[in-house]
Each structure stands twice: as C-alpha cells, then as structure tokens.
C-alpha cells in the first residue's frame, strides 16, 4: 500500500532529532514555559482508542493536524503528476509539480519540528477522485487547499507558542494562493466560484473560513485510510 509521501525515507532528516529539536523550537517563545508544561503532559498520553491515529494535545496536536493536511496535499499532487488527466497543458502540469514541491517543504518542516511527536505517514484514500478528469482533480485540489486555509485560520487562536503562530501565518497565505490558483484554473475570473468566490468568502463581511480542529478532521477523514483522532486538541 502506498504511503502518502513515498520519498520521505530519502530525505535523511528523521525523527531522531526528536524532542530536543521541538524543545528548541518552543524555547524562544515568550510563553515557552507554558508550552513545555504542555509537552511534558504529552509524555503520559493515553493509547489512542480503536487504533485511531491520535494527533496529540496542545500545540503538538495543532501541528500534527497541519502535518496531516500537508501529507494529504503532497500525496494528491504526486498522484496528479504521476497520472495526469488527458489533455493537461504543460503549464498545468508545471503548476501541479510546483504545488507538490511547495507542500513538500511544509510537510518536511512540520516533520522536523515535531520530531518523535509526529504522527506516522498516513495512507490516502482517493477513491472519490477521478484522476483522469480535469474537473475532479482541480475541484479536489482546491477543496484541500480551502480546507487547509480554514484549518490554520481556526487553529490560530488555539496556538500557545508564539513562533508556531508566526509560522502558521507564513504557511496559511501560501495555501490561500494555491486555492486561488486552482479555483481560477477551474472557474477563470469567476466572482461566484473563482479565486475568492462567493461560495467560500462571505459576501457581507469578506471573510475566508475558519474551522476548529474537529470539523477539519471530519472533512479530511474521507480522504485518509486511518481513523484520525483530534480528541485531545484544544477545543476553544
């Protein structure tokens, strides 16, 4: 069974850096003591119920949630590049390659920062995606990107570590650029369904979406073989 990120073992940087790396990541924050306390609690984490993949608690949980999204995106774009839909233009193929490679950097960074607290590589379930259909591919792609934006928007307030908050901000706008690109390819210049369409941006307040972790997991779950548990993430 294929893993989400087939090339992961080639990168050389593995979880062995582990906890120390994450502590260093946490250490500069102005509220690092709080973060460290949260991490310490993680050492006593209960075994996930029913074999579910437990994202963890606190900032670790939020990072693992983001990490799971990046895994999904990388797996998806890798598949698109390997089996492009018929009639794909060279420009579109280049876009999908670029999207894959930029999401890979997000994936590898989260893996590095999480160290031994990272969830395992997940197995995608793309049975609902028709990779030979341009429409299905573009729609699925922007669905993932839109969800990634909403996930980081909703998680912002739950983040304790200032540096993680800053990093999320650097990533979420790139996900929004990706969403806009895929939407514009599918519905060029469309106010209704395009780059910042009325189907996703509120028409009265001009806001993108913000989802709390349980809803993000609920929406991502159909695309992942393993059961994901956000039980221990911050609730509000």
């Amino acid at each position: 069974m294929s893993k989400l990120f087939p090339d992961a073992s080639e990168t050389g940087l593995r979880a062995s850096l582990g906890r120390r790396t994450f502590l260093r990541f946490a250490g500069i924050s102005s509220v690092s003591a709080l973060t460290l306390a949260t991490l310490a609690c993680d050492d006593h984490r209960p075994a996930p119920l029913n074999g579910a993949v437990d994202l963890g608690a606190g900032d670790v949980g939020i990072m693992n949630l983001a990490y799971s999204q990046e895994q999904l995106e990388v797996a998806f774009y890798s598949q698109v590049v390997q089996t492009p839909y018929s009639g794909i233009t060279p420009e579109e193929l280049a876009f999908f390659t670029d999207l894959r490679d930029r999401e890979r950097t997000h994936l590898e960074l989260f893996k590095y920062l999480l160290g031994d607290k990272a969830i395992p590589m997940l197995t995608p379930n793309f049975s609902s995606v028709n990779f030979s259909s341009r429409e299905s591919v573009l729609k699925t792609g922007h669905t993932f990107e839109d969800l990634g934006v909403a996930a980081l928007n909703g998680a912002g307030r739950l983040v304790t570590d200032m540096e993680l908050l800053a990093l999320s901000g650097k990533i979420v706008s790139v996900e929004a650029r990706h969403a806009a690109l895929l939407r514009d390819l599918l519905h060029p210049k469309s106010p209704a369904l395009g780059f910042a369409g009325d189907d996703i941006i509120t028409t009265d307040t001009g806001l993108d979406r913000a989802f709390l972790p349980p809803q993000v997991v609920m929406m991502a779950q159909p695309f992942i073989q393993q059961k994901i548990s956000a039980e221990r993430l911050p609730k509000a």
């Binding site: 590898e108 509120t202 009265d204 993108d208």
Partner: protein, 254 residues
C-alpha cells in the same frame, strides 16, 4: 485549571509577559460567558468582534486601526479605477469588482468593530504612479503591491492578537488578501507565489525580506530539490507596521 496561577507562572519566566498578558487575561474574564462566539464551524464574523468592542484594549484598537487604514487604501484604489468609464479592464472587470466588494466589506467590518475609535479615512493620492488609472499594466502592478503588502501586514500583526477572537477575524481577512494577490499576479501572467524578494515592477520594499529561507531551520536543508525558489515561494514573510507604513505613506496613509 487555575487560570490565575497560570498567568502568574508565565510572568515568572518572562518579565515582559505581564504587559503582553494584561489585555488578554482581562478580556478572558470579560468574555467567559460568550462561548457561542467560538462554537465549532462558525466563522467568527461581524457579531463576535462588535459585541466586544466595548472591551477592546488600546493595543487591539491600534492593530485594527492599522488594518483599517490599509483597507481604506485598497477600497479607495479599486473604487476609483472601477468608477472611471474610460478605464479598460477588458475581461478582468469582474475580478476587480469582486476584490473591491471584499475590501469594502473589510472597511465596514473594521469600522463597526472599532466603533467610535475607528480612524477616519485619510485623503488618499496616487501621484507616485501618475498613469495608474490610465495604464492597465501600471494599475495591475500597484494592485499586486497593495495585496501582497496587505498579506504581509496582517501577518505581522497576528502575534499582537495572540489568543484573541480578533486574531481569527484578522486571519480570515489575511487569507482573502492572499487570494486577491494570487489572482492579480495571474492577471499579470506572473507566478502566484512571491519568489525570493523579486518585486517585478513593484516597489522593492514590498518584498524586502521575502528571500528568507530559515523557519527555525534552513528549510533548504530538509529535502532534495528544496531550492531558494521553492522554499521562498512556500513561505510568505511578515512585515512590521513601520515597514508597511513606509510603503503606503506616499499614498497618503499616515
């Protein structure tokens, strides 16, 4: 959990924490009864920040007024272009109508949130780009500069809204600005990403610092093919308030 103990512990390890916490700890208690605003799946919208306007700290008001000034500029810029009968957008007009709609909504949202504390709209000017409303390519360059600056400005303010409901709203606006930026870049037949600090006709200050590749670690070291281009495009960088004001000051924003 003993929330008082928690704050006291934080203050013990960070001398500056007292200032940082003073507003949101107070607000935590003011808000304790308003759980509805944080319900699952509900985008935090107008109501949730307006109902708390009475409790806004000076720090939060400063952030929101800074955002409001940038939204005034964007709204005014697109409105002027769209209202000029002679200005030819070609097939792109619906794009800028949509973008303008969002900027006008952001102005209204922030004005409502700030109430009486809202900064007035300044007298705006565009003489730094004399042909901006007669040359469509110049218009696109300035639009791109405004949108990418907006993205960087909101990103830079996010830490000041730490743990607050206004953070969610700011992030929701931030993502919309990023979508706008990507679209304008496509209309210019450019890349949706910011590549290194390439300004592509816009003022260089708009992209200063975007060449950064270090996110706790030099991301280029984390994988094969993680080049300068790939890594800088994958992470958008923030700008300080001062850097943003220096960019928009020539347009009359103070």
């Amino acid at each position: 959990m003993n929330i008082f103990q928690l704050f006291s512990d934080i203050e013990n390890v960070d001398a500056d924490a007292s200032d940082k916490l003073s507003y949101y700890s107070r607000r935590y208690f003011l808000r304790k009864g308003t759980k509805a605003a944080t319900a699952v799946a509900l985008p935090v919208a107008l109501a949730s920040i307006t109902q708390e306007a009475f409790a806004q700290s000076t720090e939060v008001q400063e952030v929101l007024n800074f955002a409001l000034k940038l939204e005034y500029l964007e709204e005014d810029f697109y409105q002027r272009a769209l209202s000029q009968a002679t200005f030819d957008f070609g097939a792109d007009r619906p794009v800028f109508e949509q973008i303008h709609k969002h900027e006008a909504s952001h102005v209204k949202l922030l004005q409502t949130a700030l109430g009486a504390a809202a900064a007035p709209k300044p007298a705006l000017k565009y003489d730094a780009f004399p042909d901006v409303f007669s040359n469509y390519q110049t218009f696109l360059i300035v639009a791109q500069a405004f949108e990418d600056t907006g993205v960087r400005a909101y990103k830079g303010q996010a830490p000041k809204l730490y743990k607050l409901p206004e953070l969610t709203t700011a992030l929701q606006i931030h993502a919309v600005e990023a979508r706008h930026a990507a679209e304008v870049r496509r209309l210019r037949e450019g890349r949706v990403w910011v590549t290194k600090n390439e300004s592509d006709g816009a003022p260089a200050a708009v992209y200063a610092g975007e060449e950064n590749t270090v996110q706790k670690v030099d991301v280029r070291t984390l994988g094969p093919g993680f080049s300068d281009i790939v890594v800088t495009e994958a992470f958008d960088e923030p700008l300080t308030k001062e850097a943003v004001l220096a960019i928009v000051q020539p347009f009359g924003v103070v």
